[in-house]
C-alpha cells in the first residue's frame, strides 16, 4: 500500500528497532572471526604471493630467494608461458560455451517442464559430485582412450581428425566442460525458477513464435543466472590443471595451472615465476569479474 510508508519501514524494518540500537558494535562482533580468518588466510597470503612474485633467486643456491622488486619476473614468466596462458583462456572459454549449451536446456526443462521430477533432476545434477572429481576425470580418460568406445566409433566413421581424443585439446575441453557443468546449471535454474511463468505465457501470447518468446522474454529474464554461471564455470576452468594433466598431452595442451603447479613443485627456484603467473591469472580474472559486474550488474554474485 502506502509506498512512502514502506520506504520508511524499510529503513528500520529488516534490522528491527533492537538491532538498530546496538548497531554500532554488534555487526563488527559478528564479522570479527570470519573476517579475521579471511584476512589472515586470504589477504595476507595474496600479499605474500605478490612479494614472492618479485623475489630474486639467490645465485648459486637453488630454492633460495631474497626480497626484491624484480618486475622482470613478470616479463619473463609471461613471455615464456604465453601459450599456456592463451590456452587457459581459450579452453576455459570453449568449456564455458559448451557448458552453457548443455546447461541451458537442462535448467529450462527443470524449471518449466519437469513438474514433480524436478527434485530428482536436482539430485542427479549434484550427486555425481560425490564421486571424487579426480576419479571421474580418470574415468573419462579411459572412456575416451584410443581403445575406448568413443574414439573407436568416431574412427570407424572417419570423423576424428588425428585419430585420438585423449592427449588432445578436445579431451581437455570435454573434461573441463563436464567438471564445471553443474556450476552453470544451478545459477541458471535458480534464475529461471524465480521468473514468473505467467510473464513467459504473456510473451507467448504476444509473439506467436516460440523462439521469439524465448529470445525476447525467457532469456533476458534468466540473464543474471547465465552471467553467474558463466563466471562460476570460467573461473575454475581457467585455473584448472587436473584436466590438462589427466586428459591432455605433455606438450600441446598444458595450461597455465600446470605451469604454476610444476614451477612450485618440480622446478627448483620456480617460486617467483609461479607466483608471478598466479598473480597475473588472478588479476586477469578479477578484472573480468568486475567488468562483468559493472556491465551487467550481477548483484546476485555479491
Amino acid at each position: 500500500m502506502s509506498a512512502l510508508a514502506h520506504i520508511g519501514a524499510g529503513q528500520g524494518a529488516p534490522a528491527g528497532p533492537d538491532t538498530a540500537k546496538r548497531g554500532s558494535w554488534m555487526p563488527y562482533l559478528l564479522l570479527l572471526p570470519g573476517m579475521l580468518w579471511l584476512i589472515v588466510f586470504f589477504v595476507v597470503p595474496l600479499v605474500q604471493l605478490f612479494t614472492v612474485s618479485l623475489q630474486s633467486k639467490f645465485p648459486g643456491y637453488p630454492g633460495y630467494y631474497y626480497r626484491d622488486l624484480n618486475f622482470k619476473n613478470y616479463w619473463s614468466a609471461l613471455t615464456e608461458f604465453a601459450p599456456h596462458f592463451g590456452r587457459s583462456l581459450l579452453f576455459a572459454g570453449l568449456a564455458t560455451f559448451f557448458a552453457f549449451c548443455l546447461a541451458y536446456p537442462l535448467a529450462y526443462a527443470m524449471a518449466f517442464k519437469a513438474g514433480r521430477w524436478r527434485g530428482l533432476m536436482m539430485i542427479c545434477i549434484i550427486a555425481p559430485f560425490f564421486t571424487s572429481f579426480i576419479l571421474r576425470t580418470i574415468a573419462w580418460r579411459q572412456i575416451l582412450a584410443d581403445e575406448g568406445p568413443v574414439a573407436k566409433t568416431l574412427n570407424f566413421l572417419h570423423v576424428l581428425p588425428g585419430g585420438h581424443i585423449t592427449e588432445t585439446w578436445m579431451a581437455v575441453v570435454a573434461g573441463l566442460t563436464y567438471n564445471f557443468l553443474p556450476f552453470m546449471v544451478l545459477p541458471i535454474y535458480a534464475s529461471l525458477e524465480r521468473a514468473d511463468p505467467r510473464i513467459i505465457e504473456a510473451g507467448g501470447d504476444l509473439y506467436a513464435n516460440g523462439f521469439t518468446t524465448f529470445r525476447t522474454v525467457t532469456l533476458p529474464m534468466s540473464m543474471p543466472g547465465v552471467l553467474a554461471g558463466t563466471l562460476l564455470t570460467f573461473i575454475p576452468a581457467a585455473g584448472d590443471y587436473v584436466n590438462a594433466e589427466l586428459l591432455g598431452s605433455d606438450r600441446s595442451t598444458k595450461m597455465v595451472g600446470n605451469v604454476i603447479e610444476s614451477q612450485f613443485f618440480k622446478v627448483p627456484g620456480g617460486y617467483p615465476t609461479a607466483a608471478a603467473l598466479s598473480f597475473t591469472l588472478m588479476a586477469l580474472i578479477l578484472a573480468l569479474v568486475f567488468v562483468y559486474v559493472r556491465k551487467f550488474g550481477t548483484e546476485e554474485l555479491l
Binding site: M1, S2, L4, A9, P17
Partner: protein, 394 residues
Amino acid sequence: MAGFREATGDLRIENVTKEFGDFTAVDDLTLSVPRGSFFALLGPSGCGKTTTLRMVAGLEQPTRGRILIGDTDLTGSRPYERPVNTVFQSYALFPHLTVRDNVAFGPKRRGQKDATRMADEALELVQLPHLAARKPAQLSGGQQQRVAVARALVNRPEVLLLDEPLGALDLKLRRQMQVELKRIQTEVGLTFIHVTHDQEEAMTMADTVAVMNHGRIEQMGPPAQMYDLPKTAFVANFVGQSNLGHGRITGRDGDFFVADVHGSTVKIPAARSAVDSGDILFGVRPEKVHLARDSHDVIDRTRKVALGDDMKATVVDVSFIGVATQYLVQVASGATWSVYEQNLDVDPIDLKPGDPVWIEWDPAHAFAVAAEGAEIPAGPVLGDPVDMPRDTVS
C-alpha cells in the same frame, strides 16, 4: 515478562511527528481514541496512516511527540513491552509453526501456563478450531487472516491494530470478514484501530473515521457525519464522490450564503460552509442532484421545493449500475457533473447523450469548502470545466 507495561484507558497520540530523512511521514498528529471504540484511519497511499500504526505498535519511534494509553507513556518502549498487538497486512504468520503454536506464541512469551488452551479458545472465536494442527501454508487467504486476528486477540491487548488486514482478500470474502471483525470487536470490547485506504470499509466498520493526507488528519468524525458534511475538498472526494465547482461567496440570505459558481447563483447553508467569504469550492453529492427532463418539470418542482437551485445541462454519458443510473452531464460553464438516479421504476432509461436536461438540488444539501490549497483526489472528473469537444455533446 520484563519491561512489560500494563496500561488501560484511551489511546492518546500527542503532537507526534515522524520524519524519515527529509520526508515527513506524520506531521504533528494529535488524536484520542476512546477505549473500546472501533477507529478507522483512512487515507491514500503514503498518507502516513501505516507509519502512525507502526508507532503505536512500537515498530517505529516518533521523531517528536508522545504516545500514551491511559496515563502510561509508551513512547520509547519496545513493541514487546506494549499492551498492543497488530494484525499485519500480509498476516506475517510464522511459517514454521502450526496454527495453534502461532496463536499460542504471545501467551507463551508472556509465560502464561495455559497458553495452548488460550490459543484454542481464540481459534474458537474466529471459528477455526479444526485447523489448529495445520501449517499456515495449508490455509486459504481468509483462514490465514482469521488466524492472524486470533493470534493478536489471544493476548487481550488494550489496543488491537489492523494494518489493511483485508487488502489481500477478494471482494466477497472482504465483506464477510468486515462483518466478522465487527462482531469480534463487539464481543471482546477492545479498542480496534483499523488502517485502510478503502473508504467503504472504513465507513461500514468504524465508529469514528479519521481521514489522513500528507501526514495530517484532514477530518475526523462518525462516518455518516463525515459523508454528509466534508470539511475539505480532499475529504469531499476521498469519502464518496462530490460535484465540486470553483465559486465565490457574494452575499448572505438569512441562514444561507449566496455564491456565484460558474455564472450560476447558488445557496449554501451557512452552517455547511467551511469558509464565510471569498473563494470557495461549492459541492453537492451526486445522489442529491435530480435530473429534470424539461423546464416544465423544473417549474413544477421548484414550486414544490421552495429553495431549489438549478442549472441547465446536457447529458454526456449514461451508465447503468444496477441500483442506480449514473449520468454525466455538462453544464453551461463546461463543467461536468455526476448525477445518480435511483432505479425505482421499471421505465427504460429515456435519456441519451446530447439530450438537454435541467439539474436541480435542495440547497440544504449543498456544502462549501476552502478553495485555497484544495486537493482533489484522482477519480471521476467532476466539477471544474474540462476540455470537452462541444460538437459531440450538443
